[in-house]
Every structure is written in structure tokens, then in C-alpha cells.
């Protein structure tokens, strides 16, 4: 990734970070840095996630028992705290995903075609 920004990255909307974290964890346990990377990669660098902002969200999700955490070893043999999705977290992800899709569709309808940036 070049340090030169081609376009301004999108700031995250309130509450979307939780959803993104849950979604990322569906592929298996991951540590904080991995989650941050994955969000950036899968959003094709569109989303700006300050890594530090991830941790309050992770903590919140952990307290709600949607994710659980365990210290483990990373691929390059470093100690890291790995988060994984719980059953409750999986349910929450489905619920939130549906909600978000309805929300996006509704906003899209209001804004209508033609206003999209090419």
C-alpha cells in the first residue's frame, strides 16, 4: 500500500465497527492487528480504521459475550490475543447484517440513481 492516499478514506459510521469486527471473525480466530488489516483489505482500503479505535469495540463485544478472547501465538510466532466469534456473536452478526442491508438499501433508494460517484 502506498502512503499516498489516492482518495480520502471513509470514516466509519457509528456502530459499524462492531459489525465489521464480527464479520471479520467469521473466518476464524484473529488478533486485533489482523482484524484491522482484514477490514482495510476487504474494504479495498476504503475504510479508515485507526487501530487503536478497535480495542474499545473489541472490549465491548467481549463484555457482551459476542466474542471471546484467548492468548495465543501468531503465524510469525508472536504472542497475541486472539478473538473468536461466539454462538451469540454469530446470531448478532446475522441480525446486524440484515439491519445494515435494509438501512443501506433504504438510503440508496432515497438518494436515487445518478448521484453515485463513478
Amino acid at each position: 500500500m502506498s502512503t499516498q492516499e489516492i482518495r480520502e478514506r471513509l470514516e466509519l459510521l457509528q456502530g459499524t465497527l462492531d459489525l465489521l469486527i464480527l464479520r471479520t471473525l467469521i473466518f476464524g480466530p484473529q488478533h486485533g492487528q489482523g482484524i484491522a488489516r482484514a477490514i482495510q483489505l476487504t474494504s479495498e482500503q476504503e475504510l479508515l480504521v485507526e487501530h487503536g479505535a478497535l480495542y474499545p469495540a473489541l472490549q465491548r463485544l467481549e463484555e457482551r459475550k459476542w466474542i471471546s478472547a484467548k492468548w495465543g501465538t501468531s503465524a510469525n510466532n508472536r504472542k497475541a490475543r486472539f478473538y473468536s466469534l461466539t454462538i451469540a456473536g454469530r446470531k448478532q452478526l446475522i441480525k446486524e447484517t440484515n439491519k445494515w442491508k435494509r438501512f443501506a438499501t433504504a438510503i440508496g433508494r432515497v438518494l436515487g440513481p445518478g448521484t453515485e460517484e463513478s
Partner: protein, 259 residues
């Protein structure tokens, strides 16, 4: 019920691990150690802020969880009054038993003796190791010798507890009694409530035979009459003159009542 709370240093270790991993990644992409570390820090943002938010949220969570637990507890108790009753009863019995035990321990072990200079009182006993006795009789001669020859003690009084057949002035009865040297009372700082305690000449083998009553015996047997003093009684058949009555709260170190 008991949730293990995350420690701050665990959180700090996680952040450190994050920075490490991110640094590794940048280094793999060809950055120097220093640049990689700087890039990792930049991507993370404000570390101190993250720590503060962690600390803050934890504090709020503590209160949140605490109130949740309290409310849940009360609801559960209300839902099951039988269980609540047993719990309350258990607590009540536990607290009660503790109070009783503590009171007893206090009275027996901790409370200072109600005697003059109680911190300087010692109790001397004789053993007989060859026969395995923890108590061996002490002769009057021995007591006198100890009293005159031991430099460390201000005074030494002798007493022995037994039971006596009390006769004269009414029906005979068996009562606990103590035989004491005359200096026992001044040594303990006790004075008679009526009459007087023993005098030195009454210690002599051929001296007058006299008795001091406990307050309860005086009340019970003599109806608390002043005229009891000077009256004759018999102790194990030997006649004695009553010379005094001790105060209601007096007791000797071994026996709770002196008759």
C-alpha cells in the same frame, strides 16, 4: 457469578503485541526497523487514549455489572422465599455463633482480669514430672520459702479450692470453698463489702478460725443480714467465725464464687 476481570497490564500487553505484529508487517515490506515501528504507531493512533478508554470503560462496567448483580440477586431472593429464608437464617446463625464464640474468647482469653495490676499477676503451680502430675500439692512451708526467697515478685499469696460442708445456722450444705492466705485479698486489690478480710495473725496455725462469705452465699443463707458478721458456722465440722462478706462482683482467679 464471578467474572474474571481483565487486568490493565493484560490490555497493555495486547497493545504491545499489536504494535509488534504491525511492525513485523511493515518490516516484511522492506521498511527499516525504525520506520516500521513508526508506521505501526501511526496506524494505531493514540496509544494513551486507547488505554484511558480501556480504563474508563472498565470502571463503568464494574458499576454496571455490580448493579446488575445486585438486582438479579434481589429478584432471585424474592422469587424463592424459602431459599432466601434459609440464606438469612444461615447468616443469622453464623453471625450469632461468631458473636458467642468471640464473647467467650474475649472473656476467657482477652479481657484483662478484674484485679489490681492484672498484667503483673502470675499464677504459680507445681508439677510432678516423675509421676506425670500437672498439679502437685504445695506445702505451706514451701510457700513461705518461695515468698521469702524469690526476689522477683512483690508478694505471693496462696489459695486452694475445694468443697466444704457448711453447717451451723441452718441446714448443712456442700459448697465450693477456698482456703486462702490473708494477703490474697490485698494482692488482688479486693476489699470486703461488709466486715473485713483476713488479718496476718489469722494465717498462724493456732490463730483464730475465720471465714469470708461470697455475696451470693450471704444473700442466700443469711438473707443479706448485717448480723451475719460475727456469727459462727462450721466448715467440715470445724467451727469458724464469719468476719466479712465480699462484693457481689468478686471472684478469685480459680473459682468464680467464694463461699
Amino acid at each position: 457469578m464471578f467474572r474474571r476481570r481483565r487486568k490493565e497490564n493484560d490490555f497493555n500487553a495486547e497493545i504491545e503485541a499489536h504494535i509488534q505484529l504491525e511492525t513485523d508487517r511493515w518490516r516484511d515490506q522492506g521498511l527499516s526497523d525504525e520506520d516500521a515501528r513508526a508506521a505501526a504507531n501511526r496506524a494505531f493512533g493514540n496509544i494513551r487514549q486507547a488505554q484511558e478508554r480501556f480504563y474508563e470503560s472498565r470502571r463503568w462496567l464494574w458499576w454496571d455489572n455490580f448493579w446488575q448483580d445486585v438486582r438479579l440477586g434481589l429478584r432471585m431472593l424474592a422469587k424463592r422465599p424459602g431459599f432466601a429464608g434459609v440464606a438469612v437464617l444461615t447468616l443469622a446463625l453464623g453471625i450469632g455463633a461468631n458473636t458467642v464464640i468471640f464473647s467467650a474468647v474475649y472473656a476467657v482469653l482477652l479481657k484483662p482480669l478484674p484485679f489490681k495490676d492484672s498484667d503483673r499477676l502470675v499464677f504459680i503451680r507445681k508439677k510432678n514430672p516423675t509421676r506425670g502430675w500437672v498439679r502437685n500439692p504445695i506445702s505451706p512451708a514451701e510457700i513461705l520459702a518461695w515468698r521469702n526467697q524469690s526476689g522477683g515478685l512483690e508478694d505471693m499469696a496462696a489459695f486452694t479450692s475445694s468443697s466444704c460442708v457448711l453447717g451451723g445456722a441452718g441446714d448443712a450444705e456442700e459448697d465450693p470453698c477456698e482456703i486462702a492466705s490473708s494477703n490474697l485479698f490485698p494482692l488482688l486489690g479486693a476489699t470486703a463489702a461488709r466486715g473485713r478480710t483476713f488479718s496476718a495473725d489469722e494465717d498462724e496455725p493456732e490463730g483464730p478460725r475465720v471465714a469470708v462469705l461470697s455475696y451470693s452465699l450471704w444473700q442466700r443463707r443469711f438473707g443479706g443480714e448485717e448480723s451475719a458478721i460475727g456469727r459462727g458456722i462450721t466448715l467440715n465440722g470445724a467451727s469458724c467465725t464469719i468476719i466479712g462478706v465480699m462484693p457481689v462482683d468478686f471472684f478469685t482467679p480459680v473459682c468464680r464464687t467464694v463461699r
